[in-house]
């Protein structure tokens, strides 16, 4: 049996992985590599390409708009990631309750995740519309003054984060509740006998035992947050005056509105490398923990 296995191993590996690898290389790896190639050129899509070496990269680190877009993205990652994870966790604690309200809540919490970015974006742009949107209408009807949800630079990013939270927290809820369901009931029973309160149970049992899940949620969430684009594009268009412009949006605009494809490629390569580094660090920490 063993020799037979060795005989066909190569063939089988090829046979099983070729379809995926073909599509993957052709439609994901190739465009990235092509983008890397383009990042060394000055090219406006319609003109002839001019090789300029590393100039695009040098320009990026001197371009105030690139740097500010980068810091807005970072700001989004740093604020939204913990928030979405914590809310997802709280939702999971509600969802695992075997009550009817728990079931209804779970259904409702996850529902937004099924919607597309454009639907979520336009819906929240309308809710946060300054003079006619739901949020301010509610505020003014109870005598509070309206907020410039999308028009006040101090608030706009928060509004985008609120919309993202509403949209994606349900996904993390499911990951967490799956993890919670795996924790044996006996552990909780034992804790109860020892007289542990619900807060102690949470901090001493649930959270430590969900370390695995939490790390996975964290990795997925950080990657998703770095790639933020659609909500911003639809809700604020990067405004007011560029204060919510994120990296993917700047790349998109540079490439497709200003036609500087070489420069846009260079910036997307930088973003790709950053995401790769951050995720690899997290993934390695994860595998260290499990082994």
């Amino acid at each position: 049996m063993l020799s037979r296995d060795v005989d066909h191993k190569k063939r089988d590996i090829l046979f099983f992985s070729l379809p995926y690898l073909t599509v993957y290389v052709a439609f994901m790896v190739f465009p990235v590599v092509y983008g890397l190639y383009l990042s060394f050129f000055d090219w406006n899509i319609l003109s002839t390409k001019v090789f300029i070496g590393l100039k695009n990269y040098v320009e990026a680190f001197r371009d105030p708009e690139f740097l500010s877009s980068f810091s807005h993205t970072l700001q989004f990652v740093l604020i939204s990631t913990p928030l979405i994870i914590v809310v997802g966790f709280i939702m999971a604690m509600i969802a695992v309750r075997p009550t009817k309200t728990g079931k209804i809540a779970e259904t409702v919490f996850f529902l937004p995740y099924m919607l597309s970015t454009s639907v979520v974006g336009t819906l929240w742009a309308w809710i946060f519309q300054k003079n006619y949107g739901l949020a301010n209408q509610v505020l003014t009807s109870v005598g509070l003054s309206p907020v410039g949800w999308l028009t006040d630079p101090a608030v706009a990013m928060t509004s985008i984060i609120i919309a993202t939270l509403w949209w994606t927290a349900g996904f993390n809820m499911i990951l967490f509740s799956a993890g919670m369901k795996q924790i044996p009931e006996e552990i909780y029973d034992a804790a109860k006998i020892d007289g542990a309160g619900s807060f102690t149970t949470l901090t001493k049992i649930t959270i430590p035992l969900l370390k695995e899940t939490s790390l996975l949620v964290l990795v997925l969430q950080v990657i998703a947050s770095f790639k933020v684009f659609g909500q911003v594009y639809v809700m604020t268009g990067g405004g007011p005056y560029g204060t919510t412009r994120v990296l993917v949006q700047y790349v998109y605009k540079t490439g497709f509105s200003y036609f500087r494809l070489g420069y846009a490629s260079a910036m997307s390569i930088i973003l790709f490398v950053v995401i790769l580094l951050v995720s690899v660090i997290q993934l390695f920490r994860k595998s260290d923990n499990t082994q």
């Binding site: 049996m1 296995d5 066909h8 099983f16 992985s17 379809p19 995926y20 690898l21 599509v23 052709a26 439609f27 994901m28 190739f30 465009p31 990235v32 092509y34 983008g35 899509i45 939702m91 309200t101 809540a105 919490f109 996850f110 529902l111 937004p112 919607l115 597309s116 454009s118 639907v119 336009t122 819906l123 809710i127 006619y132 739901l134 209408q137 509610v138 009807s141 996904f171 499911i174 990951l175 799956a178 795996q182 695995e212 996975l216 949620v217 997925l220 990657i223 790639k227 684009f229 659609g230 993917v248 790349v251 490439g255 494809l261 846009a264 997307s268 973003l271 790709f272 790769l276 690899v280």
Partner: protein, 271 residues
Amino acid sequence: MKKPLAILGELFIALLTVLWIMPLVWLVVTSLKSENTVMSSTLSFVFAPTLENYRKAFASTLLGRWMLNSLAVAVITTILTVLIDSTMAYVLARIPFRGRNALFLFILAGMMIPFEVLIIQLYLECTTLGLANTLVAVILPRLALPIGVFILTQFFKAIPSVLEEAAFIDGASRFTVFRTIILPLSKSAIFAVAIIAFINAWNDFLWPLVAISSSEKYTITVGIANFQGTHGTEYSLIMAGAVLASIPQIIMYLLFKKNIVKSIAMTGIKE
């Protein structure tokens, strides 16, 4: 003693639930208002509902056609994704060879690519391949789903190897083992990948927009984007479009809720 706290808890849950459903309620409410009343009566939930926006959507566009296109794209993408992701995952989970971990990382790296920035490169590539303005071009770049490979690999790894070994001793080929043992045991994980692939394909916007140039081949997300006016925003019509584009997923979700929830949970389950 504990009672008030429990009531408070229930109240909190109820509040959070209402808060979460509110935007969707408002989405539907707005879509039922006429363009002239939408701005003047934002808060009123009592009004004469009108299906005018929906009528307009159906009368002036190829809405039915776009829905069918989206359905075709999403279903074909889902089936093919599951096929190629599962065979790839089988290799990564069950056939040990040198460089396997490297290959796994190489594939996971795909998760980090922001798809939006590759659009032009992809378009040029698809045109060179003669795929411009075809639904094939919409489908192909979406088939390699790294998260799908990740989920399936984790799941396949957890299947006890005794079953497989027994089959090998009986002279079964890897293909037979994959088909008769691995796949049937992985229904829930496969469902998870299928759901993710379906949602992705259905909600995809930018790529189909660029890849398709004739309106009879638009997908629903591309089609309804045109509801947004050239200058200015007609909120009630846009919301009607949003409702129409979301109905299929919402129905699917309510029908298969249990399976969907269970299968997304797969992402997080470790061996």
